[in-house]
């Protein structure tokens, strides 16, 4: 009886409500931490309701921004055009050389009977929003489960790695950027093939961790995906080493990395639908076929 009176008394009803309310928030937090499989039905529903408005707002802003950029801010256009033409010529030459290298590489791979890579399928998505909070780095895109997007899939842009899918709704998904504190990508330093993990550092910066002290890394080295994690195909550009920190002692050295993608200006991204798992080599295939015939 006394307990009932305590709960019903006006004096204690508000503190009890607040305590229960905060406890509920804590329980919700722990439930989310346990699940970690993606958002449930309610989350997906809320996302479906709010995202079209977000898409509309982004479209309106882009239209206004586009009007200014396409019609009003054209002062240095001629100079820019000249520089771009020079760059095209340079890239065409580079492209020609690359084609030659690619052909040579294909011939050599054939000779060595290397495993072939499956062609990846990608789906293009539009960025409709960025993280509303300051501590986490994510994007909302307009492709979701209905388009085949699943949690953990790699997200890239033409210039490099963007991140991976964190949450999905039927038509929308949240991408965890590679600069987020919770992001980790298996990587390789392109020049020296030194293995490391790229971890997010928050403000458009990443860190190369577990990089052996004996490995050679220099400022300006390009870091690419190693393909070992399973989500990212091998050879995607992640970023460039900006600073190397060889601390006084220890097994590892650290390096700071600048992503090759400007994550604050992203408008379109690609989601890699399947991980690039290698198919069995031709020789093995042949052997298997023979075995089955027997």
């Amino acid at each position: 009886m006394r307990i009932r009176d305590f709960f019903l008394s006006r004096r204690y009803s508000l503190p009890i409500f607040i305590v229960l309310f905060l406890l509920f928030a804590l329980v919700l937090m722990s439930l989310r931490a346990k699940q970690r499989k993606g958002v449930d039905f309610f989350d997906a529903l809320l996302m479906e309701i709010c995202s079209p408005f977000q898409k509309g707002a982004t479209l309106a802003i882009k239209t206004v921004q586009g009007t200014f950029q396409r019609y009003l801010f054209l002062i240095n256009l001629e100079e820019e055009n000249r520089i771009l033409k020079q760059k095209i010529a340079q890239l065409q030459e580079e492209n020609h050389q690359m084609k030659e290298i690619k052909l040579a590489n294909e011939r050599l791979r054939e000779l060595l009977q290397f495993r072939e890579k499956k062609p990846s399928s990608m789906v293009g998505a539009e960025v409709i929003g960025q993280d509303p909070s300051s501590w986490f780095k994510s994007l909302t895109i307009d492709k979701g489960e209905r388009d085949g997007v699943k949690k953990g899939m790699a997200v890239i842009s033409p210039t490099g790695v963007v991140g991976q899918i964190l949450k999905t709704a039927p038509d929308y998904a949240v991408v965890l950027l590679l600069t987020d504190y919770n992001s980790a990508i298996d990587s390789v330093v392109q020049r020296t093939r030194a293995k490391a993990i790229v971890e997010g550092k928050g403000e458009n910066r990443c860190q190369l961790k577990y990089l052996l002290r004996t490995d050679e890394v220099a400022v300006g080295d390009v870091v690419i995906t190693s393909g070992l994690g399973g989500n990212f195909p091998k050879g995607l550009r992640i970023g460039e080493v900006r600073r190397v920190d060889k601390r006084g002692h220890g097994v590892f050295q650290y390096a700071e990395l600048v992503p090759s993608v400007d994550l604050t200006q992203l408008e379109e991204v690609f989601v890699i639908m399947e991980p690039l798992l290698p198919s069995p080599p031709k020789e093995e295939k042949g052997k298997k076929e023979k075995k089955t015939k027997k």
Binding site: L14, A25, L28, C50, Q65, Q130, S134, W135, F136, N182
Partner: protein, 174 residues
């Protein structure tokens, strides 16, 4: 009920504004936290139960659209709401400076609280955040503080326009 639904829509509008419009600003990292300002507004002028639920929903939506997989904002925004609710009668909050200082300190404390939660639940070492204190947390809290009096003024005007009885507007007692 009408008032709650309206404020919920306003909250969603702020969320969209923060996620879609502010990233286009030239200085990306110093965008003010509109949803935090909105939570203060709810705490100062709304009853604890309906205001608390609204703050909770706003935190939930922030978590939903952010890269935060744990749901820190559901807890932190509810906590901010109730702390601000209990402090409102004890602090003078009518002028520009007091509102600025209040919002600045709360934004700073909420930032530190989120960092502690990240450190506790996601094992992100606190040492990682040291540089962010001056480059991100302080400027953002400052801008949140700076925008608070302006938004309070706009909210006040908005509620006067929307509700025919200004006194009754949002200043009902819980």
């Amino acid at each position: 009920m009408k008032r709650i639904v309206l404020l919920l829509l306003v909250g969603i509008f702020f969320l969209i504004l923060q996620a879609s419009c502010f990233p286009f600003f030239p200085i990306h990292r110093v965008r003010p936290d509109l949803l935090l300002i909105f939570t203060f507004y709810l705490a100062f002028l709304f009853p604890p139960i309906s205001g608390g639920i609204l703050a909770f929903i706003m935190g939930y939506l922030t978590d939903l659209f952010s890269g935060n997989a744990m749901g820190f904002y559901v807890f932190s925004r509810s906590l901010v709401f109730f702390t601000a609710y209990f402090l409102k009668g004890r602090i003078y909050l009518e002028g520009f400076y007091s509102q600025f200082l209040f919002a600045f300190l709360f934004a700073l404390l909420e930032g530190v609280f989120i960092l502690i939660l990240m450190n506790t639940f996601q094992s992100v070492p606190l040492a990682k955040f040291h540089p962010l204190f001056f480059t991100s947390l302080l400027p953002q809290s400052f801008f949140t503080g700076l925008f608070t009096p302006l938004f309070f003024f706009l909210f006040g005007k908005g509620s006067l326009l929307w509700f025919s009885q200004p006194g009754k507007g949002v200043k009902e007692k819980g």
